[in-house]
Symmetry: C2
Subunit: 228 residues, 2 copies
Amino acid sequence: LVVLRDVRKVYRMGDVEVQALHVRELTIRRGEFVAVLGPSGSGKTTLLNLVGGIDAPTSGQILFDGEDISGFSDRQLTLFRRENVGFVFQFFNLIPTLTAEENVRFAVDLASRDGVPPDRDPKALLAKVGLADRVSHFPKQLSGGEQQRVAVARALAKNPKLILGDEPTGNLDFRTGKLVLSALRDVNRDEGAAVVLVTHNMPLAAIADRVLHIRDGEIASVEINERP
Amino acid sequence: LVVLRDVRKVYRMGDVEVQALHVRELTIRRGEFVAVLGPSGSGKTTLLNLVGGIDAPTSGQILFDGEDISGFSDRQLTLFRRENVGFVFQFFNLIPTLTAEENVRFAVDLASRDGVPPDRDPKALLAKVGLADRVSHFPKQLSGGEQQRVAVARALAKNPKLILGDEPTGNLDFRTGKLVLSALRDVNRDEGAAVVLVTHNMPLAAIADRVLHIRDGEIASVEINERP
Ligand SMILES: Nc1ncnc2c1ncn2[C@@H]1O[C@H](COP(=O)(O)OP(=O)(O)OP(=O)(O)O)[C@@H](O)[C@H]1O
Ligand SMILES: Nc1ncnc2c1ncn2[C@@H]1O[C@H](COP(=O)(O)OP(=O)(O)OP(=O)(O)O)[C@@H](O)[C@H]1O
Ligand SMILES: [Mg+2]
Ligand SMILES: [Mg+2]
C-alpha cells in the first residue's frame, strides 16, 4: 500500500541541520498492522507524517497505491489524505467549535461521497470508545483522554485504507486503552484497513503483525510477531 | 501544606450537570509525594486544577499553608500560583514564541525575586531531562515528548513548594520517562517540594508515599507505600 525509498527528512535551523529521519526502504502492506516504537525525539511522528502525507520528504520517494506522493503540493496532499488516511494526531487537532459528535460527523461527511456504510454512525463510533454520554461536549469540556478518544473515533469514521495513530493511548489508563485497541483491531480485521501506530504501550505493540524499532531517525530493527 | 474540605466541582451545560469531583477530606503534607491514578474522565485533572489554584471549586474549602484560596479572584490565584506552584500541564502550555531555554528562564525570572539558587540554571534543568541539545528549539520544532520535558523543566525551575504533574510522562518512552522520574524525585528529596502526580505510569506511582485511586469524581481508595 505504501512504499518509502531512500526517504530523508532534514530540518534546517540557521546553519544547524537536524537529520530527523532516514528510511532506506519501508513497505506497508494492505491490511497490515504495524507498531512503531522508539525513544522520545527518535523520529516517529516525522515518519508518520511522511507516510500519511501530512508532510513532504526532503528527498526520496513515497508511493501510495503505486502513486508517487512525495512531490505533491499541499493542496494535492490535502485531497489525498481526505480520501485515504485516518489520522489520530499526537495532540488530537479537534475542531474546538464542534461537539464530539460533530467532530466525528464532519469526517464522515467528507468521506461519504464514496457511500457511507451505516455503521459509520458517529454516535456508534463514540460509544465504541466509551464516550456515549459525552457526544454533545465541546473539546474544552472533555478530559484529555476523552479528547484523544474523539480523535480516534474521527479517524475510524471515514473507513480509510490507512489509519495512522500517533500514541493514540498516550493519555489513557490501561482499561480505557483496551477499548481503543479493540476498535483499531476491529477496523483492521473487519474493514481491512492498514494500521500504523506509534506507541509506548507494549500490549498495543503485541497485537501488531510487525514492530519497527526507531532510533536516532533510522529503523534500527524489525520484529515479526507470530500469530497464535 | 494543602487541605481540601468537602470540595465539589460541578460543570453545568444547559440543564445537564456533570459532577466532575467531590472530595470530602484531603490533606497533602509538606514534602509528600502523592500519585493519583484513575480512569480517563474520572476527575484527576479537575483535582489537580483545584489543588494548584488553576480553578476554583463550586463549593467547599481549599487551604494552602493555612490560607483559604477557595474564594480567590483570578488575579489572586495567578499571583498565588506564581509564588507557590510549579505545574506540568497535560498539554504543556509552552509559550510558542520562546525557545525551550527561554520558556524555562521565563519561569525562573518570575520566581527569582525570592533569590534563585545557582542550580536553577535553565540549561542545567533541560540537560537533566535529556534536552541539552534542544535548548534553542521553539516548541513547534520539538517532538511531543521533548515539549513535555520542557514543561517539566519549567515547573522545576522556580523551586516551588508544590509541584503538580498532569501525566508528565504521557508522551515518553520508558527510559526517557525515568529521567523525568529522577528529576521529580530529586526535587522532592533535596528541595523538600511536595509533588502530586497524575499518572498512568505504574513505576511512577511506586515511588510515591501515597497513591490516591480516583473513580467517578471521588477518591475510591488510598494506598500507603512502605519505604524500603
Ligand atoms: N468544562 C467542562 N464542562 C463539562 N464537563 C467537563 C468539563 N471539563 C471536564 N468535564 C468532565 O469532567 C470529567 C472529569 O474531567 P477530568 O479532566 O478531571 O478527567 P481526567 O481524570 O483528568 O481524565 P483524563 O485521564 O482523560 O485526562 C470528565 O468526564 C469530563 O468530561
Ligand atoms: N521543525 C523542526 N525543526 C527542527 N527540528 C525538529 C523539527 N521538528 C522535529 N524536530 C526534531 O526532529 C526529531 C524527531 O522528531 P519527532 O517529532 O519525529 O520525534 P518522536 O519520535 O515523535 O518523539 P516523541 O516520542 O517525543 O513524540 C526530534 O529530535 C525533534 O527535536
Ligand atoms: Mg511524536
Ligand atoms: Mg486529565
